[in-house]
C-alpha cells in the first residue's frame, strides 16, 4: 500500500504524535484555560506548547500571535473576513485553492474589490504583475505559497517586499508548505500566515490556524465567532487581545497535543533536511514520469521550484479511471480531479478534466516512487 495523498493530509504520522494524543486523553484530559485546577493548567501548558512549536517552525516572533482553529481554511477565512471591508481592494493569484477563492467571491459580492493576477501555464507568478495590480485602496495581497495541484512555489519573499513597500497586508496560504518548505514569517515580511496542522506539521486533522504579525491591528480584526474564552468572564463583550479574541469555545486540546509533537518532530529533523529528502524524491518522480510515453506533467517539472506534489495526466485514460486503477490494482492512493482548485486548473489548462496528483510526504521512499512510476508506465501502455 502506497499513500501518495499527503497533499490532502499526511499519513502515517510520526509515532510521537499519536503518543502525545494518547497521553493527553489518558493523563490530562481537562479543558485548558477555563478552570484553575492542576489538570486544566496542564492542558493549558500543552496548548501553549503547540503555539511555541508552531512559532518556532515558522520563525514567528510571538507564540501568543499564533491562533488556532480547525484547519488552514479557518485561518484564511479569519484573515479575509476579519480584515477586508467594502471598498477595500484585495489581490490574489490565479493558482489559489477554493479556501481563498470562495471567501473572496463572497467578499466581492459584498463590495470588496478583487483582482486575480494571472500565472503562467506552469503556475508561476511574475512579481511585476503583482506590483502592477496594486491600487491606492489595496488593503491585502493574498497568495498561496505553493500550489496544491502542481506544487509550484510562488515568490512570497518578493511579494512580501512589494506588499511592505506599498503598505498593504500580506497573507500567505501555507497549507502546503508549513513544515515542508523553509518559511520565515519575520524575514519574508509576512503579516498573516494560514497553516494546516495536519499536513507537513504532522499533527492530526482538526488543527490549523493563523499567525498574525504585529502590523495587523487586532482592534480592526473581526473574529469569525464570539464566545467563552476563559478571559474577561465578567463581560458580555468579546475580549480584544490575542489569542483569545480569535479562539472562542473549547479548543481542540488533544489535537494540539498532537500538533505540538508533530511540529517538534519537524524541528528535530529540520525543515531543510525534510525539504532535501522531498526534493530528491520529487526529482526521481519527475524524471520517472517524464520517461513514460503518453504522460503529461503539469507545473514547473523542477524539484527546486516545487513541493513534493506532482500533477499529471495519461493520454487515453481519464483521471478518474487512473485513480481507481491505481487504488484497486496497485494499492496506490492519490487524488484525482480538480483538487478544490478550479482556478488553478484553468491556469494550467486542465479544467475541467483535472489531473492525477501524487502528494509525497515525510515517510515516502525511493522504492515507493519507483513502484508508482512503474504502475503509471503500465497504465499508459494499456491506454495507448
Amino acid at each position: 500500500m502506497i499513500y501518495f495523498d499527503n497533499a490532502a493530509t499526511s499519513w502515517p504520522k510520526p509515532p510521537c504524535v499519536v503518543e502525545a494524543m494518547m497521553h493527553f486523553m489518558a493523563e490530562v484530559g481537562a479543558n485548558p484555560g477555563r478552570s484553575g485546577h492542576r489538570l486544566a493548567v496542564e492542558a493549558a501548558r500543552v496548548v501553549y506548547g503547540a503555539r511555541e512549536a508552531v512559532a518556532q517552525v515558522l520563525n514567528a516572533p510571538d507564540p501568543l500571535r499564533v491562533v488556532f482553529g480547525a484547519n488552514a481554511t479557518e485561518g484564511l477565512n479569519l484573515a479575509l473576513h476579519g480584515l477586508l471591508r467594502p471598498g477595500d481592494h484585495v489581490i490574489t493569484s490565479s493558482m489559489e485553492h477554493n479556501s481563498v477563492m470562495r471567501p473572496l467571491r463572497v467578499l466581492a459580492r459584498n463590495g470588496v474589490e478583487l483582482t486575480v493576477v494571472g500565472c503562467s501555464p506552469q503556475g508561476i507568478l511574475d512579481p511585476d504583475d503583482l506590483e502592477r495590480a496594486i491600487r491606492p485602496t489595496t488593503r491585502m495581497i493574498a497568495l498561496i505559497h505553493a500550489s496544491n495541484v502542481t506544487g509550484t512555489v510562488l515568490p512570497i519573499a518578493e511579494a512580501g517586499h512589494i506588499a511592505r513597500e506599498h503598505d498593504t497586508l500580506f497573507l500567505v496560504d501555507a497549507a502546503q508548505t508549513a513544515g515542508a518548505y523553509p518559511i520565515d514569517v519575520h524575514a519574508d515580511a509576512i503579516d498573516l500566515l494560514a497553516f494546516s496542522g495536519h499536513k507537513s506539521l504532522y499533527g492530526p486533522m482538526g488543527t490549523g490556524g493563523l499567525v498574525i504579525g504585529d502590523r495587523v491591528d487586532v482592534a480592526r480584526l473581526t473574529p469569525l465567532k464570539q464566545g467563552g474564552t476563559g478571559s474577561r468572564s465578567e463581560h458580555e463583550e468579546q475580549p480584544g487581545f490575542l489569542p483569545d479574541v480569535c479562539e472562542s469555545g473549547t479548543p481542540n486540546a488533544v489535537g494540539l497535543a498532537g500538533l505540538a509533537a508533530g511540529a517538534r518532530w519537524v524541528m528535530a529533523r529540520g525543515v531543510e533536511g525534510i525539504r532535501a529528502h522531498q526534493m530528491a524524491l520529487t526529482e526521481e518522480l519527475l524524471r520517472g514520469l517524464e520517461s513514460i510515453t503518453g504522460v503529461t506533467i503539469y507545473g514547473p517539472r523542477d524539484a527546486q521550484r516545487q513541493t513534493a506534489t506532482v500533477s499529471f495526466t495519461i493520454a487515453g485514460m481519464e483521471t478518474s479511471e487512473a485513480g481507481l486503477r491505481l487504488d484497486d490494482d496497485y494499492g496506490i492512493m492519490c487524488r484525482v480531479g480538480l483538487h478544490c482548485a478550479p482556478a488553478a486548473h484553468r491556469t494550467l489548462g486542465t479544467f475541467p478534466a483535472g489531473t492525477v496528483r501524487f502528494g509525497l510526504g515525510g515517510f515516502s521512499s525511493t522504492e515507493e516512487v519507483a513502484t508508482a512510476v512503474d504502475a503509471i508506465a503500465a497504465l499508459a501502455r494499456k491506454a495507448s
Partner: protein, 79 residues
Amino acid sequence: MSGDSYSVILVHSTSHAMRIEKLLGERGVACKMIPVPRQISSDCGVCIRILQQDVEPARRAVAAAIEIQGIVPIQGGLR
C-alpha cells in the same frame, strides 16, 4: 511555606500565564498557577503566584516579552 508572603502576576489570558510560567522557569523563578483571588480584578481566571522576594526578578523577566495587568501582593490563605 506558611510563613512566606506572596504576590500574584495578573494577566489577560491563560495563554499569557503560560508564556510567563515558561519565562520564569527559564530564569529559575518558582511560580504556581492559581485561581485569581476574587477581591482582585482580573481579565483571567488564573494568575501566577510568586514569592514576594521574587517580584523584581519576575518583573524583569516578563517586561520585554509580554504585557501584564500588574503584580499585587496577596494575603494569607492562598497557600
